[in-house]
């Protein structure tokens, strides 16, 4: 029982995409040749040139990188940073919201921070059509149907697979874009490797009741939900932590990764040696705080023992009093007396962590890094941290914090310090190209999409360590994630549904009077990016579409299959362009 479910707590290799982790993926790999098309040497021999990774003309790491892209209009910044990129029409809708950039941004943000007010019938209809069956199940239902009955692997992981596909579906089709972005943010903040024997069966519940329920709400509430969630209790071992045998795994990451942050880690010194602020609160934590926190959380476990009536087997959180350490504890400068009421040590700990000023700085810093850039201005972080800490009890604490960051002038004046991660790259291409995708379990195109997407290095809910996918450019601008991201979004332009319609169909979306290479490039650049491209890049797109002909003469788009293919390839080229990948 134990071995299998514990493996994931140990920083295993990333969910394998090379080795193909399950039968459905293996089957895909076997038939992969079908998707790769015919031999390509003909095309390759023109394009491939002998080259060197090290060569004198390549800029080295010492070189200051002076060229940065100019910030685009507010509509593009907002839909790209606070959403999964603009769909055709999004830019115009944004621009209709006010007379100035700030007014438009404020109005748009207020809408997005109130997701229930946004009609989402398109996404809802697609969710229904996808035929998901596990996303609404209660925790005991999931536990029973997908774990206790010892189902086949496909049934066991179905809640994971449906959550994964629903996440992509909503990113592409939901109009509640900021909400979806924040769901991804919190899944990474409270990162769990979920493609796993015990966790996959209940993953739909974690996504729905812990992350989505609190994504724009109150941090302390989400923190408490995570602390009592079976996936986290399994993933970081708190499930087995008891007074006699405390386990520090969760307690350490709770402090380091979920709340106070490693910047406030004072190492192995005495608790009393940590400097305090004017309120007498220690500025940070030491190893002894980790140990004390682990003791606070002893007895926080799961109902997962059918043979033991004290536990039961519902899969839900369980406080097992006999395992709790009732001795007095000191954590983060707070003295907890002996024999507190059930759960109170742990709740006091979570209260203290959520309210600690360092938690505000840490969470605000991560939000600012996600939204603005790898090195967000410190004044933004400080302002957002102040709001976060002041609103620690507010039901809209997270929304308030976001508002502070987004409405800071730096939101519209900074651009280009980040590259889209594969999730954003894929979904923004599907949005920009208005891909028609059903995301149903078992749908061939969706399985292939996931297989290709996962190769780009960001398979959802599948980062092994508890710190979430990296959110700095160095992790994503290396050759593997770039090439594999290009590869999957270029693939999108050449996939047909069972009725032989292209899932991204630029031909039917092109107005009849747009037929020259120049007009086609201009139209599609604007439609996908929501703005023009820099001149040389625009010209390159035109040149590709013109293929040596006069770019201002109409192309036989309506009659020539080859021209239609070229148009789809041009759309792929726009997807792969630097302009598309900036954040």
């Amino acid at each position: 029982m134990m071995g299998r479910d514990r493996v994931t707590t140990r920083f295993g290799p990333s969910r394998s995409v090379d080795a193909v982790a399950n039968p459905d993926r293996r089957a895909l790999l076997r038939r992969g040749a079908h998707f790769f098309g015919p031999a390509v040497a003909e095309s390759a021999q023109h394009a491939i040139q002998p080259t060197f990774m090290r060569r004198p003309d390549r800029p080295g790491p010492r070189q200051k990188m002076t060229r940065m892209p100019a910030p685009p209009p507010a509509a593009v910044i907002a839909t790209t940073r606070l959403g999964y990129g603009p769909r055709p029409g999004d830019i115009a809708a944004f621009n209709a919201l006010g007379g100035t950039e700030t007014a438009r941004l404020t109005a748009w943000l207020d809408q997005q921070l109130d997701p229930a007010s946004i009609d989402d019938s398109v996404a809802d209809a697609r969710m229904s059509a996808a035929g998901f069956t596990t996303l609404g199940k209660s925790l005991p239902q999931l536990w029973n149907d997908h774990h206790v009955v010892e189902p086949e692997w496909e049934i066991r992981i179905q809640p994971f697979l449906e959550t994964e596909r629903a996440t992509l579906l909503r990113a592409v089709y939901s109009r509640r874009q900021l909400f979806e972005v924040m769901v991804d943010f919190w899944h990474n903040h409270f990162s769990i490797f979920a493609y796993e024997f015990i966790i996959a069966p209940v993953w739909a519940w974690q996504d729905r009741e812990i992350i989505r329920a609190n994504a724009l709400g109150n941090f302390r509430q989400m923190l408490g939900g995570v602390a009592k969630s079976p996936p986290m209790l399994y993933y970081l071992d708190n499930r087995v932590s008891s007074a006699d045998f405390p386990n520090e795994n969760y307690a350490r990451e709770l402090i380091e990764l979920h709340t106070v942050g490693a910047d406030a880690y004072f190492g192995a010194i005495d608790q009393a040696a940590v400097p305090t602020d004017s309120n007498g609160t220690p500025l940070g934590y030491v190893d002894a705080d980790v140990t004390a926190a682990a003791r606070c959380l002893t007895g926080w476990t799961i109902s997962d023992r059918s043979w033991d009536p004290d536990f039961g087997n519902t899969g839900e959180f369980l406080y097992h009093a006999p395992w709790h350490d009732n001795d007095p504890k000191t954590v983060l400068g707070i003295d907890l007396p002996a024999n507190q009421a059930a759960l109170k040590d742990g709740e006091d700990l979570l209260d203290a962590l959520a309210a600690h000023p360092a938690t505000g700085r840490f969470v605000a810093g991560k939000l600012a890094r996600r939204i603005l850039g790898d090195f967000p201005p410190s004044e933004v972080v400080e302002a957002a941290a102040d709001v976060f800490t002041a609103a620690v009890a507010a039901p809209d604490q997270i929304a308030q914090t976001l508002r502070t960051i987004v409405l800071h002038p730096s939101f519209l004046s900074t651009w280009g310090d980040k590259v889209k991660r594969p999730l954003e790259t894929l979904t923004s291409a599907m949005r920009g190209g208005e891909a028609d995708w059903d995301f149903a379990i078992g749908a061939d195109d969706t399985n292939t999409l996931l297989w290709r997407f996962n190769q780009a290095g960001q398979p959802l809910f599948s980062w092994h360590p508890p710190n979430g996918y990296p959110d700095v450019k160095f992790a994503w601008n290396s050759t593997a994630p770039l090439v594999m991201s290009w590869k999957v979004i270029n693939w999108l332009t050449d996939v047909r549904d069972p009725s032989e319609n292209y899932r991204i169909d630029p031909l039917s979306a092109t107005p009849p009077d747009v037929r020259s290479a120049e007009a086609l490039a201009t139209f599609w650049i604007q439609r996908i990016l929501g703005r023009p491209m820099p001149g040389p890049e625009h010209d390159e797109i035109v040149s590709f579409m013109a293929q040596g002909h006069n770019p201002n003469l109409d192309l036989p788009l309506d009659t020539s299959e080859s021209t239609q293919e070229r148009l789809r390839a041009m759309v792929g080229l726009i997807f792969m362009s630097p302009a598309f990948l900036w954040r």
Partner: protein
Amino acid sequence: MSEITRRGFLAGCSAAIAALSGSRFNTVAFAGGPQGNNDILLVVFLRGGMDGLSLLPPIAGADRGHYESFRPNLRVPTSGPNAAIGLNSQFGLHPAAAPLHDLFTNGNLALVPASGQPVLNRSHFDAMQFVELGTPGDKTGTTGWLTRHMGSASNLPPEIVMPSLAVGALQPQSFAGSTETLNLSNPDQFNLQTGPYAWRSAQRTSLRRLYQSDLSWLHDAGVQALDALDIIELNVGDDYMPANGAVYPNGSFGDHLTTLAQLIKLDLGLQVATLDLGGWDTHGDQGSNGEGYFASIIGELASGLAALYQDLDGTGASNYTSRLTVVVQSEFGREVRENGDRGTEHGYGNTMMVLGGNVNGGIYGNWPGLHPDALIEGTDIAVTTDYRSIVTEILLRRQGNPEIHQIFPGFTADDYQPLGLVNGPDVIPNFGAEIFADSFETGDLSAWSTTVGE
């Protein structure tokens, strides 16, 4: 038609290019002349905190007694079918690490217990960043230590096809800031053969022009990625067959090692490579009696490294092991005392391994012992060998790069205590003219800052 066939076809039809460029690619571009370096440094990072005490348990003396009392459930036995494999009178190898035993016996494996970082830090993520940035105690830098090693090495030719390689889905922070590293997971998938078929060639040409049209960091990264594509598509042929009957373990670690061996044998000038194996954060159910979870993962590591060594063993130009030095390290070790869940908590001193044809096999360093008084905070193995001493020795003797002050700023001549782990010509190390405690902030490292985002 499969991609494998495509590669075969491609290899055939680009024979003309290969004929023209082969010598330049494989010889001139890399050889580097008399000052050139011919060695390959592979860094294997064991993420999560590998339990070095299980890899290399004491098998005799007072330490054995301490070990057994600290580890009543986890201990590796000294007798029976799962007995530790004695390496000397003091230490044994975990039985599941048996594939490494021949390498040790042949003098190609060195182990350094009680090694690690100079400052105790029990955070995985801090400790990993310290190692990968090469600045223990400081994580503010923006370039990895391997990036600075490659950038400061003056014994390399100006053009190298594939100087540095990160095998895996993402690139580790030790290559942060590098503009010449090739990062890939699977060469068979590393291509751009998607999209409307007839237009792929033209599209590829245009894609390169798009990324060459400006000089931002993203444009540069795009050109780098396109170069990597060209190199792989041009040089990597059909199905790879390991030599000497080497069999790599199943799973991504074995796959990545296979890829590494395949790319090493292309002779494209590889200097440094990285590869990860995760799964070491064993807070519970590590296994006991030489069996269980730890045994399975240390077995994967050992059989993988042994397979790599076997695959690369050869004569003459194929004698890759004579040019290979492998460093195996983790961010920290684990507590000596087992916890109540048959696991171990985050610790400090750990065992590092160095493997290669020019390694002087053996067990090195000052072993502080497991007497409770010798433990840090009563729970941890002390660090008596700074890991930077181990790496510095390899950088000097195998990689021929003396610019230690750029790679490990703040690491001083006094700190450097070479153990004689590897053979090679002695190069006088440059630790910097003056040593300040914060020299990495004000001195050497500032030259390496990338300013994006300011």
